[in-house]
């Protein structure tokens, strides 16, 4: 190869991969998530503050420490609840909505924000349905009762851990009502 060709090659390699600016993917707002998970149900939105003792209990029971003492909950008339929660993704937080029935089982989950490189399968219904019917009695662990998503192991693991934490949070907060 002639020097001029090397020059072109190197310049091309340096300049070709122009930065691809990542953009936030917001799929659902809080109201939209509520409408999807509890259609036709009138929900009351509240911020609830977890006490240090409650945080300690949730951490002990679920194995996951809440990221914040403030919890966003939409309560239904029969004490069913919709949690707006977030867990760590590889690069950013993943925001999701978790619907919990009055008997403490999972009604469904919806991914509200996802901005990771891989693992958009966490939004697919087939994967999210694996959570339906789970309760505090279930392990909610990757490769046990929740399947791993290749390329997004960290995201799927953290969502499963987050759901386990929310089920225990629900059980505790319900006693306040």
């Amino acid at each position: 190869m002639r020097p001029s060709q090397w020059n072109t090659l190197v310049a091309g390699l340096l300049l070709t991969p122009i930065p691809y600016i990542g953009h936030a993917e917001t799929y659902l707002t809080e109201d939209q998530a509520a409408a999807v998970l509890f259609p036709g149900v009138k929900l009351e939105a509240r911020w609830m503050e977890l006490t240090p003792a409650e945080i300690k209990t949730i951490t002990k029971m679920s194995g996951e420490k809440p990221l914040s003492s403030r919890t966003r909950v939409f309560w239904g008339p029969d004490h069913e609840a919709l949690f707006i929660d977030r867990v760590l993704g590889k690069h950013e937080f993943i925001t999701y909505a978790a619907a919990i029935n009055a008997d403490g089982t999972v009604k469904g989950i919806e991914i509200m924000d996802y901005r990771e490189t891989y693992g958009y399968q966490v939004r697919e219904a087939a994967w999210r349905e694996k959570f339906v019917g789970k309760s505090t009695a279930d392990p909610l662990q990757l490769d046990k009762d929740i399947p791993n998503i290749s390329g997004a192991t960290l995201s799927s693991k953290h969502i499963a851990n987050g759901m386990r934490r929310l089920l225990h949070t629900y059980a505790l907060l319900k006693t306040r009502l």
Partner: protein
């Protein structure tokens, strides 16, 4: 093939700064230490490694190593890559580490160093197993000695054992690599062989979304004739590492000054002056390395 007057170091850096490209492959929070992560099946990534090696015991010595890599995930655990290695070398009045009484040829040139292929297979995932573990092999064919800039024919295979462990909800990553790289070289009809051996450690913490900071440590060793009884040079590097990652690209930046090395005294140069340092080795290795590595998924 040599570009003596084609590309200057400045133009390369300028082109890099102005057109910063990025890729997202087996993203690592480190510029030197490998993690066990691999590209998911079917994905492609471009990585560019920009390494500045500078400073010898005497004379002027700076090398800007430019390595381009294309990666592909063949399965979720097997990743294969192709590398194009090149460097811009500036040396002036620098004693040849193999023959101190003569200097390296003064040069200011950009050239291709060689090509290589990387095979990385993950056995355990740090994100769901107790720790991560991967095997790595990289056969390389070299046409230019990266240290001296002389034409050569070099064959090598870099073998690595990679391990990592995640803590604190996957925000803290500890990683360790062991590297053995036998090399066979033919230069001016003279044949030689050596073994490169490295131990790398890294710790990185994601302190806010997108950003991680940490440290990297490397011990590099050289064994002549691929004989463990004939240890030549050894050098220790320690420095800070900074990492940024977004949805489609990431970058890792590390500064590694040499903090200790052996042997410190190499001998005397052509003028009878000693070629030495009080605590570092400057024959095979340099005073400082700085690497900016970035990746872009495509």
């Amino acid at each position: 093939m040599r570009l003596r007057h084609g590309l200057s170091l400045l133009s390369i850096i300028s082109a890099f700064i102005m057109g910063t490209p990025m890729a997202q492959a087996d993203e690592s929070p480190f510029a030197y230490v490998y993690t066990t992560e691999s590209l998911p099946k079917g994905h492609w990534e471009y990585e560019q490694w920009n390494t500045l090696r500078t400073g010898k015991a005497a004379g002027e010595y700076t090398s800007f190593d430019l390595d381009n890599e294309f990666e592909h995930g063949f399965t979720d655990n097997l990743q294969i890559s192709f590398y194009l290695h090149s460097s811009f070398l500036h040396s002036r009045n620098t004693p040849d580490p193999d023959e101190l009484t003569t200097n390296l040829e003064n040069q200011n040139s950009f050239d291709l160093n060689g090509v290589s292929a990387e095979f990385k297979y993950r056995l355990l995932s740090a994100e769901k197993d107790l720790f991560g573990l991967s095997l790595y092999a990289e056969p390389e064919l070299g046409v230019r000695n990266k240290l001296t800039g002389t034409d050569t024919v070099e064959r090598s295979i870099e073998c690595k054992l990679l391990a990592d462990k995640h803590f604190l909800n996957d925000r803290l990553i500890l990683a360790a690599n062991i590297v053995f790289e036998p090399e066979w070289e033919r230069e001016n009809d003279e044949r030689s062989k050596e073994l490169k051996n490295e131990y790398l450690l890294g710790a990185s913490y994601r302190f806010v979304p997108h950003w991680s900071a940490g440290v990297e440590f490397i011990n590099r060793r050289l064994f002549e004739d691929q004989d463990f009884a004939k240890q030549g040079a050894s050098a220790f590097y320690l420095g800070p590492a900074l990492h940024y990652a977004d949805q489609r690209w990431w970058a890792s930046f590390t500064i590694l000054p040499q903090i200790a090395g052996h042997p410190q005294t190499l001998g005397v140069d052509a003028t009878g002056n000693p070629v030495s340092d009080s605590f570092r080795h400057f024959g095979e290795y340099e005073k400082m390395e700085i690497r900016l590595k970035f990746g872009v998924e495509f």
